[in-house]
Amino acid sequence: MGSNMAENHPVGFQWVMEAKNRGARILHVDPRFTRTSAMADTYVPLRPGTDIAFLGGLIHHILEGEHDFRDYVLPYTNASHIIDDEVQLPDDLDGVFSGYDPGSKTYDDRSWQYAGDAPDVHAAAGDRINDLVGDDGRDPARDPDAGTPPPGADPEGGEGSAAAFEGGSIGNVGDIERDETLQHPRCVYQLLKRHYASYTPAAVASICGISEQRFLSVAEALVHNSGRERTSAIVYSVGWTQHTTGAQNIRAASIVQLLLGNVGRPGGGILALRGHASIQGSTDVPTLYDLLPGYLPMPTGDKHQDLETYAQRTTAAKGFWSLTPTYLISLLKAWWGGHATPDNDFRFDHLPRITGDHSAYQTTLDMLDGKVHGYMLFGQNPVVGSANSRLHRMALAELDWLVVRDLTMIESATFWHDGPEIDAGELVTEDIGTEVFFLPAAAHVEKDGTFTNTQRLLQWHQAAVSPKHDARSDLWFAYHLGRRIRAKLDGSITYRTRDLPLHELTWDYPVEGPHEEPDAAAVLREINGWDAEGRPLSGFSELRDDGSTACGCWIYCGSYAQGVNQTFRRTAWTEMGPAAQEWGWAWPMDRRMLYNRASADPDGRPWSERKAYIWWDEQAGRWTGLDTPDFAPEMAPHHRPEADATGIAALGGDDPFLMQADGKGWLWAPSGVVDGPLPTHYEPHESPVQNPLHGSAQANPMRQIRPHEHNPDNPSPPDPEAATYPYAATSYRIAEHHTAGGMSRFQSRLSELAKEMFVEVHPEVAAERGLTHGGWATIVSSRTAIEARVMVTERMAPLVVDGRRRHQVGLPYHWGHGGIATGDPANDLFSVVLDPNVHIQEVKAATCDILPGRRPRDHRLRELVEAHRRDPVASRRAHLADAVTADGGSPQAGKARTR
């Protein structure tokens, strides 16, 4: 679901075809019939933005029929945990969960927490900053029993002492109230049942626009193919993430998979296919503003005054996040080496602090407000690839300077003289003050390094050829930039103050060759880490919090074990076991499957012989199997922690989800997800349909809207003007091009496969709007209008929503005004509206209208957009009349080849 794997991950898709050849059944659920659908055994369409309705329907089906894998669910998930007595579900509260403050549009997650004497837990990822007494909105008197002070805590409480945690998972969570019979009305299982009670097959059919039978064919397939003997895997891509409910889409899938026992077991899981190469790597060693390497939270200005406070707020009592300070101190040692000592908090104050939302979209909006002066784009083409790309062009024009490092002269480097706004007279080249520096970049075949892709697998690649002319690797640029800045600041009056973090940085990689290319392997060695004697570490269990170890990213520790580049292993698949552990290296600790303790039953035996993967070897007294066990290696299945145990020792022998504070798979998320403990169907921010499920909550109440003159909204129901933009718009990629086109549209081999931007519509839309196959269409939103060649195809299935036929308009987003294959960017049409958890844009589901003919190129473009917003009926009539007299294209008879 939410993935067009055959087109966008064709190399990985060979394994899906291999699985199919071996008898696996491929189900594809997606708004469009794609090349993936063509290969599937079953294809089911659905309306864009209704994935949670579909997945909620699956959850409903599983629970109603008691199809859950109870022997797995009971011990390994939080199904039996009882939730706070103040919890309320959206059906009780007109579409929101308890804790919602409509004024600030925020949730307080206290009522989502576990009941009983256990302290609050925080999530292994996401929003997991523990709040302390005195923090906003935290009332220490609210529930005196909620927090059990950890051993040794100062009973007086007070900021700075361990007991300052009001709640927080610093305390052990052994005392969670549970009901193993799953009957308690506030146990997670019953809450799930209640929450999804309205997600009946009939409701799913009506919301998603399909027949009940088609929905049930998927539900039955999953249920029958899960259990002791069989497992099912779910694959998703940005078709799930790029929504205002993006994180919740994946949460919904994880509930399905946990209920069916498909997590931590061979053939199971949820596979995130990343948008392009090493995107996984760029979150592990992050380019994200709110993370440090290894998913350590970036310190914030207000909550992390010093290392101690940081440690208190980010450390869990149980599992591997209990060692957060160890990871952070080792990171600080890697960065500031001998300068980082216990006396100076290991140079914790050298880390920058977050003072607000510094995500990409906010930064772009800040440019428009004159708050950002310089910007560097490394391999990113936002004026084509980001939502509301027109807004990005307007924003970049407000900068003082812009550095673009890319393979080719992408549109983000040339917008100032050839962008569509220049044609339309909205921007004038002479008036743009942005000084643009274009620096040619080396491609992956021209440099050494690693890719970290979907399955957390690091694979080393070697330079095959040298980069031409002035092209240099990103590593070269970053290294020499740092070196030169440091040299320039040498002797400055701010040497000991502002510039000290830079001067003390360990920035001494060996270089080689005529261009002084830094040794990429030396960087990987630093990321892997070393001990006080400089010996490479073998794994993160060797990390210490006393400053004796340095490690650039704790989850990558072991990638250079024994001083050998483990990521460069290339053993043939015929020569190694089924987990393929001699190929590359997977974090953490070369585990190829996370949470694989769950592949054995609570007693440590494989669930079935077929599905054996990791099991307890009684004689050896340790876990063994086909992979590195993702568990304490010698903790017996029936181990029960001491009441005051902390860290790894606080895990039970049946706590497979060892990154979670309670060791369980979270059907219910007591914290960490800012927009609700359970995924809930909300319509997209822009939808042609009213939310039929949750009262007055039309869209996700927590979605991040960014009002701006360049970022207006298309009206949605109940606003009667929703009919202005009556079609669902969805953007996507095709096999022929790569993302925003920097790697494909500028070279002939790929450009000739798909030279022109096109729009895909069903024959009924073509009839409604007077579109000609092969001709031109103008697609309009409140942001702007773009033009595209028309592809009339039945692959864009109409969906019957609430008894009415609803259509979608398909918009591949690769094109821009530069390169060989040119066209309007689909992203011009979409608005900047974001998921609240990860700030991702909603470009998989919005609304638009479509008109025959080409768009104006001059100032009349804005007039068209305005006129359509004011009076869409007149606008449509005018365009239809024009189209009848002169179509701008060369229409061909009929539609796509249908022999």
């Binding site: 087109e7 898709f13 015929t574 199997g625 002939s748 092969g774 022999r899």
Partner: protein, 340 residues
């Protein structure tokens, strides 16, 4: 990418012909049932063979196909055929009823799984090495890619490397020849650009390249990567194909494999399965590059009954003789008559 480990002692680990296989006929088996339409074959072919960009392409509207057809500047061409609902040429698309899984697992090679169940550390039967997949019945109904009968067929077309290659037979300069691997190759430096081959090819594969392009005016087509084969490499398209839709190997092995695959699909209820270019008794003596199709050849733009034009040469000459004799006789009669 040959991950399915098709065993052949005439192919090396990289899928290329091993030394000493000269004299063996090599070819392609294109199994369109697993083609995902990624066009990696088109790109890999162009990149390796330095085939120029097509200048006349743009948006064709022909589904996802903007290449159009095979020619001097397109030696591989992926066809896309959308068969909407109600398409009556074929029965229901898809795999038919799934009962107990027998149909699907019939003839199901366990390629790529040799180590399952044999690893010393493995409990017996791990990963279902021996178990036959038991597919459940889904709602008691046959599931198909689209229950409304929509199909999207994709097929990578290529020169057929005919047993009786018409292009070769009509070539007046000897530029086209059979290689030691029984493939059909044009020698660019010998070709004089007469274009006889272009009209002779029953598939419309070979074409003269536009003037101005490298080798402009000469005839070009797929060489089955003759240069790569001589270097013990498999052709670029086959290597790039992620799903093994394009398979390279000794022709007889490919034919045997294709028979098994076709039976497997037919057994599973896939409609329209047929092998194309597989019959050595056909009008071109069979192809060195043959196909498994899921519909009639015409659907894919392939001629249903291709014939090498020169095949009837003897008969044509015989009739020419008869006609000439008739003309002579008539002329003689006229002359004789005129005398009278």
């Amino acid at each position: 990418m040959t991950h399915s480990a098709h065993a052949s002692d005439r192919l090396n680990h990289a899928g290329g012909p091993v030394p000493g296989t000269e004299g063996t006929r090599f070819g392609f088996f294109t199994d369109t049932s697993v083609c995902i339409g990624c066009k990696a074959c088109e790109v890999a072919c162009k990149e390796w063979n330095q085939v120029p960009e097509r200048t006349d392409t743009g948006f064709t509207g022909d589904s996802m196909d903007n290449t159009g057809d095979l020619g001097a500047d397109a030696w591989r061409h992926v066809a896309f055929i959308e068969q909407p609902r109600g398409h009556d040429a074929m029965p229901r698309a898809g795999l038919g009823p799934l009962v107990g899984g027998e149909a699907r697992s019939a003839g199901n090679g366990r390629a790529g799984l040799e180590w399952f169940g044999q690893d010393p550390g493995l409990p017996p039967g791990a990963h279902g090495a021996e178990a036959i997949p038991q597919l459940p019945i889904f709602n008691g109904e046959p599931a198909s890619p689209a229950e409304d009968g929509f199909r999207w067929l994709m097929s990578s077309d290529v020169c057929k490397h005919c047993s009786e290659a018409a292009c070769l037979e009509v070539c007046p300069t000897g530029a086209i020849f059979y290689t030691e691997f029984d493939t059909v190759v044009v020698q660019d430096d010998v070709c004089n650009g007469c274009g006889y081959c272009v009209t002779a090819c029953p598939y419309g594969v070979i074409e003269r390249r536009s003037p101005g392009q490298p080798g402009g005016g000469g005839a070009f087509k797929c060489t089955l990567c003759y240069d790569r084969m001589k270097g013990n490499q498999q052709p670029a398209c086959a290597q790039a194909c992620p799903t093994d839709s394009i398979q390279f190997g000794p022709l007889e092995e490919l034919r045997a494999r294709a028979d098994v695959r076709a039976e497997e699909l037919i057994g599973a209820g896939v409609p329209g399965v047929q092998l194309y270019g597989h019959d050595q008794g056909d009008g071109v003596g069979g192809n060195g590059a043959f196909f498994l199709l899921l519909d009639e050849p015409e659907v894919y733009g392939l001629p249903p009954d291709p014939v090498t034009p020169t095949r009837n040469l003897g008969e044509i000459w015989r009739w020419v003789g008869v006609a000439a004799a008739g003309v002579v006789a008539a002329a003689g009669a006229a002359v004789l008559g005129g005398d009278r």
